[in-house]
């Protein structure tokens, strides 16, 4: 160990509370600099919380934390040290972007830390080479196996030469060969950069043996510190795994006993699981290549293999989740059939990634699964209690799984898989990330199930000591089974002392000459990025997010094209569809006069293009009935003696009944009939030439801007603003909340990117898409709909740019406000659909609105842009006339963005 330097991190009385649970209790400790420090302890004792606090990803509740010589409570200090800390959170590839390729993910992080192009290229190439990911540079991160994701996560953490590297269970779920490579890589980096301190939480005690310094934690407090040798000495143990157990308090240790594996009962057993030439192809890629095995009832069969070798795919075929491309999978001698409910009840499955309901409590999850497996209602409570006891879940029964550490979640998944007492258990890396004591407890249970109840267990694992406990194991690589036998036999075949060495030997044989050469120790390019890192606002970081978002948009061409085509389609449907000139109104006449005069009056109506005459009415009853059924919307009653009264100079009264169910339509009808009636009177006066001296003034009506009062010409310029609010807002609505829900928001917490850079970066690609959309809509309006564009195109485009910026900011606002994607979608629909359709002047002018709607209408961006759009299209207006509306939009943008920024947190609460 090098000369003692100042500790890289110092904690003083740090406590952390989640609701009622206490994650950390007044922890005080020092983390020595320039060495590998391991954090070991059972699941759920606050290891992850501690790391997140040191990394600055989580807000400090109480106590003091100094990292790299400054107080982490201070925002200024965090901003300053953030580029020197790298944090890799727990979980498989949680901070990665699944649709981006390996290289693009790395490139994204490199840009966030302000690296130039040449520097990025060399660093990425170097990191990929040393992790053996070079071949997979173009593969989307989401399609990588668990271990490869972890490696990529590490690469992303190492891209900027941190001084403090914080790794939260980095090798969980990683195969032994990759694990070796992983630690070699870290060793190499440490040799190059001796000033780097590494802080690792791990569940693998073999790994902890390599570390310089260990911190054993339990129940939110530090139990012991020291080098591995010191801890071994103190506990008088030979292996760290034992030492770990010895360090635990009495209460936790008591249910731990040395695992004894009873032999299997002799004699032929029936075959429970069988695979015959099972193959799976995804396009050209052969994931599983003619795999075959037979597993007897009650056997524990282990599946070992490098990451991405097809273990998970094989398991999915056995459960019927994936139909095999070739070959057969048989359970209990019957071909697996996805529709066979009876077989499903006999199988328990646990998938590699956590796939229970994060929004249900632990107890609710257990109960739900028991119910779905049709465990008799009377037994459910008992089973749940038994499971809670068996997997030590008692203290977390009412908590939500998303709040629980990985190890505990794994236990819950296991409990769920066995709650219905299945006869076959298919477990995909069930013990990844689970602490040694819990693992032993779990194995004890599996042995019970296997030996006493005859349950067949098919399990994949990366722990060699677990593989040793299996009755037989299969070694798998690149979709093929290399060998199957008892662990001892396999070791004997190779003549190697440990299973790990045997396994690696098999793998190296299979990989053959492709075996990766350790990367040459090329000096990493010196960091020249310090000047950039300190900036409060960096375009480079902003564009890094822009690029990422744009790539994601490009990877999902359906979304982009749906937005463009969908908006064009809607422009057609709505442009034609919202016709405000109410037409084709049905009416009927109740003519009690039946003279030529009364018929002339009725004819006056029939001649109008708005009305369609129906069979005449006979009486009020009929009128009422036909109007109630919606058959007629207007009834005209001409009184008896109408003609006679009219001629005598009396004032006979025409009665009209309107269907008021739809007030807008009724109003329009009223307007029509009043106009028609006035026209009738004028006509009457003109004809009445006997007394020709009198006449009423005529009203010359001129419809301006749209002389034929065509709805289309008025509606198309109004529908464009509507669509450009709804669609861009929905496109950005998931931008932030999706990262929150899927975990990559952590990158905002731990990289130097600021909240504004993050938001603007996300917004830009959607503004670009929105502008493209806008241009297409304008083209369609002018060339397809023949709507004349009378004013300044430049003004229209400028208005569009400002408006789309507002619309995308609205989406982002909903996205920062909500916690779940569902809420974001719903919220965006609420804040856009109704205001844009009803309060922005599309149908009713804003000036005539009332109440709250009027207020919304006055500030809502759509109102302003609607006026700009109609002004430019129909009224030949430009910047000068519409100045105030441009200003309104211009002011809205910073207001919305400021709101977003204030709602977004730079640290987890």
């Amino acid at each position: 160990m090098s000369a003692p330097a100042a500790p890289v991190a110092q904690l003083q009385d740090v406590s952390l509370q989640y609701g009622k649970t206490c994650a950390l209790k007044a922890v005080s400790l020092e983390i020595p600099a320039q060495c590998m420090v391991g954090l070991i302890g059972p699941d759920g004792v606050g290891k992850s919380s501690l790391l997140a606090l040191i990394a600055g990803a989580r807000k400090i509740h109480s106590g003091q934390i100094e990292v790299l010589g400054g107080d982490m409570v201070s925002r200024a200090h965090r901003r300053q040290v953030c580029p020197h800390i790298a944090y890799m959170p727990q979980g498989l590839g949680k901070n990665l972007y699944p649709t981006l390729s390996v290289i693009e993910n790395l490139d994204f992080f490199a840009r966030l830390f302000g690296q130039g192009e040449a520097e990025r290229k060399t660093r990425i190439a170097e990191l990929l080479r040393s992790t053996g990911l070079s071949e997979f540079g173009e593969r989307p991160a989401g399609k990588l196996s668990g271990g490869m994701k972890q490696k990529l996560g590490l690469c992303c953490a190492l891209i900027h030469d941190p001084d403090l590297l914080i790794l939260d269970e980095p090798t969980t779920g990683v195969d032994p060969l990759s694990r070796n490579q992983f630690w070699e890589l870290i060793e190499r980096i440490r040799r190059q950069r001796p000033q780097m301190s590494v802080l690792v939480a791990t569940a693998y005690m073999e790994e902890a043996e390599r570390f310089d310094h260990l911190l054993a934690i339990d129940d939110g407090a530090v139990l012991a510190t020291g080098s591995p040798a010191e801890l071994l000495q103190r506990t008088q143990c030979t292996s760290l795994e034992e030492a770990f157990i010895a360090l635990m308090p009495e209460a936790k240790r008591q249910d731990h006993k040395q695992l004894v594996i009873p032999p299997r009962p002799a004699g032929e057993q029936e075959i429970a699981i069988e695979a015959r030439d099972l193959s799976m192809r995804f396009g050209d890629f052969v994931a599983v290549d003619h795999v075959g095995f037979r597993i007897e009832r009650g056997e524990i069969f282990g599946f070992l293999g490098s990451n991405g070798c097809g273990k998970t795919t094989t398991m999915k075929m056995l459960t019927g989740l994936l139909p095999a491309s070739e070959g057969q999978a048989l359970l209990f001698g019957q071909v697996v059939n996805a529709r066979d409910m009876a077989t499903r009840k006999r199988v328990g499955y646990m998938s590699q990634s956590f796939s229970l309901y994060a929004e249900l409590s632990v107890r609710q999850n257990l109960v739900l699964h028991a119910q779905l497996f049709h465990v008799p209602a009377t037994e459910i409570a008992g089973r749940v209690t038994a499971m809670a006891e068996r997997f030590s879940l008692g203290s977390v029964m009412e908590q939500l799984p998303e709040r629980l550490p990985l190890g505990i979640r794994q236990r819950l998944s296991l409990a769920v898989a066995v709650i219905h007492k299945p006869e076959i258990l298919i477990l995909d890396e069930p013990t990844s990330g689970v602490d040694p004591i819990a693992r032993d407890v779990f194995w004890q249970m599996m042995l019970d199930l296997s030996r006493n109840d005859g349950v067949t267990i098919f399990i994949s694992t990366h722990f060699m000591n677990e593989a040793l406990r299996c009755d037989r194991i299969s070694l798998m690589h690149a979709g093929k089974v290399l060998d199957s036998d008892t662990p001892k036999a396999l070791m004997a075949k190779r003549g190697l002392p440990t299973l790990e060495a045997t396994f690696i030997a098999y793998l190296q044989d299979a990989v053959g000459e492709k075996a990766q050469q350790p990367a040459p120790e090329a000096a990493a390019p010196a960091a020249q990025t310090n000047t950039l890192k300190r900036k409060r606002f960096s375009l480079l970081r902003l564009f890094s997010y822009t690029r990422r978002e744009a790539l994601e948009l490009r990877r999902d061409p359906i979304r982009g094209s749906m937005a463009l085509l969908g908006s064009l389609l809607l422009l057609f449907i709505i442009g034609y569809g919202i016709s405000l000139d109410v037409e084709n109104l049905t009416y009927a006449v109740l003519d009690r006069d039946q003279t030529t005069t009364s018929q002339a009056y009725a004819l006056n109506l029939a001649g109008s293009r708005y009305f369609i005459e129906q069979a005449p009415l006979r009486d009020y009853d009929e009128l009422d009935r036909r109007m109630r059924s919606g058959e007629i919307s207007l009834a005209v009653e001409i009184p008896a003696n109408f003609g006679r009264d009219l001629k005598r100079g009396g004032v006979p009264q025409i009665g009209m009944w309107l269907d008021g169910a739809m007030p807008m339509r009724a109003e329009t009808i009223k307007g029509y009939v009043m106009g028609l009636h006035a026209g009738y009177l004028q006509e009457l006066a003109r004809k009445d030439s006997a007394s020709t001296r009198s006449s009423l003034p005529t009203l010359e009506v001129r419809y301006r801007y749209n002389p034929d009062v065509e709805s289309l010409n008025a509606m198309v310029p109004a529908v464009i603003p509507l669509l450009l609010m709804l669609i861009p807002a929905m496109l950005t609505a998931l931008g932030v909340v999706r990262e929150k829900e899927l975990g990559s928001i952590i990158n905002l917490y731990v990289t130097p990117v600021t909240r504004l850079e993050f938001l603007l970066g996300k917004q830009l690609p959607y503004i670009a898409l929105g502008m493209l959309n806008f241009v297409l809509l304008v083209i369609a309006a002018v060339w397809v709909f023949d709507v004349p564009l009378k004013g300044s195109l430049l003004a229209l485009l400028t208005g569009g740019l400002l408006y789309i910026s507002c619309a995308t900011a609205m989406g982002l606002l909903m996205s920062t406000f909500t916690r779940s994607q569902i809420a974001a979608v719903f919220g965006t629909a609420i804040v856009t659909l109704i205001p844009a359709i009803q309060f922005s002047g599309l149908i009713y002018p804003v000036a005539s609105l009332e109440g709250f709607g009027a207020l919304v209408g006055q500030i809502y961006p759509t109102s302003h842009f609607l006026i700009i759009s109609r002004g430019v299209f129909s009224k030949a207006l430009g910047f000068t006339e519409l100045y105030s509306y441009f200003m309104a939009l211009l002011i809205t943008i910073p207001v919305l963005l400021a709101l977003c920024t204030s709602l977004l947190k730079k640290q987890e609460a």
Partner: protein
């Protein structure tokens, strides 16, 4: 029996998830209370507060009388402007109507000439253009006749017009607006909740977990249909009773239970649509976009915003596929016109058919899409 139990338990699970999302609950409450009140009370009468300006070149008692006739609530107080201001005022959207009374107007009227008044209408405000012109024409004729009655005996023949409005005598917009808003919220919420719930299960891998259990796709779907349908139906019933009838004092002519039956069927259709979209979209961003693209025409073209019969034939035909079209139809018939089941059964039938088609479509796609995610 076991199937029913599965559907029940999975549905309960949906309700529990909903309960864990306070922001979503808040939005639902907003949608069914203040959202409805806002939309209902903001809608103007079609001719309401219309801005009118008058260029009075006559300045006679008759022209003054005419100008005074334009009164609230139909019109804002008329602005007297100069001829030169007229164009700018209309261009900037300041006035929807401008009336130009020519010089010597009164004299010409009394002399029995037929002088022309020019009325300019901003035809981009289509909703007001016609109605307003009709009103102004009527008002003009009435005022001039009344004026003439003082001076002359040989009036032209007169007939009065009495307009009576059935079902909603004062044409109160909130009566219509509130219920249409309830329908909008029902549609929006049910489609989003089910569609997004399905995508969430896919994105979190929980659906995969369900499919290794003795649970079938129809059960998973029906669970979402009943649970989300129940939430929305409850919200609807409460909203109609407390907000629409209670707060907004909208009289409901027909049978509320009959309407809720219709709402129930409508929910079956919309939740099935939601699930169908959930099987088409591959991710939440895609789903969000798909939903908004569908919701826009559903809200605008189902007859709740503008009357259906004035839409082009083709659009009318297309919109028959949408359950909302039939639902709006039956809602208007039941709630305002007091129609009974014998009148609205065709709409009930149409909604059931549409719902069944979407449900079948979703079922068909369910397994296919699941193969893609793993």
């Amino acid at each position: 029996m076991e199937q029913l139990a599965n559907i029940f338990h999975l549905g309960l699970k949906e309700l529990r998830s909903l309960q864990r999302d306070p922001a979503l609950l808040l939005l639902i409450i907003w949608a069914f209370t203040l959202g409805i009140i806002t939309a209902a009370t903001s809608m103007p009468e079609s001719l309401h507060n219309a801005s009118i300006a008058v260029v009075d070149e006559d300045r006679s008692p008759l022209s003054a009388r005419l100008i005074d006739a334009f009164q609230s609530p139909f019109f804002r107080t008329p602005q007297r402007i100069e001829l030169s201001e007229m164009d700018h005022g209309m261009d900037s959207g300041q006035y929807t109507f401008t009336l130009n009374i020519p010089p010597d107007f009164q004299r010409d009227v009394l002399a029995g000439h037929s002088p022309a008044i020019q009325l300019n209408v901003d035809a981009t405000q289509v909703s007001m253009a016609f109605t307003g012109a009709g009103y102004i024409q009527m008002i003009g004729a009435e005022e001039v006749s009344a004026f003439l009655r003082h001076y002359r005996a040989d009036l032209p023949q007169q007939a009065a017009l009495a307009v009576r409005v059935a079902f909603n005598p004062n044409l109160t917009r909130s009566w219509f607006g509130s219920v249409m808003e309830v329908i909008n919220q029902i549609t929006m919420l049910s489609i989003i909740l089910t569609g997004a719930a399905l995508i969430r299960e896919r994105e979190h891998g929980t659906i995969e977990h369900l499919l290794v259990m003795p649970v079938t796709p129809p059960e998973i779907m029906l669970a979402k249909v009943w649970s989300m349908g129940l939430v929305v139906l409850l919200a609807t019933a409460l909203s109609l009773l407390l907000v629409v009838q209670g707060w907004l004092q909208v009289p409901i002519a027909g049978s509320l239970p009959l309407f809720l039956c219709g709402a129930l069927l409508h929910l079956f259709a919309t939740t099935s649509m939601g699930i169908f979209f959930g099987t088409i979209a591959r991710s939440m961003p895609q789903l969000g976009l798909l939903i908004i693209l569908v919701l826009i025409p559903l809200q605008i073209l189902s007859g709740g915003t503008t009357p259906r019969e004035s839409m082009p034939e083709l659009v009318q035909q297309i919109m028959l596929v949408a359950p909302t079209t039939h639902f709006v139809d039956l809602a208007q018939a039941i709630l305002y016109r007091g129609a009974g089941f014998s009148t609205v059964w065709p709409q009930f039938l149409a909604i059931i058919t549409i719902g069944a088609l979407f449900f079948a479509g979703a079922l068909l796609r369910f397994r296919k899409t699941l193969a893609q995610i793993s």
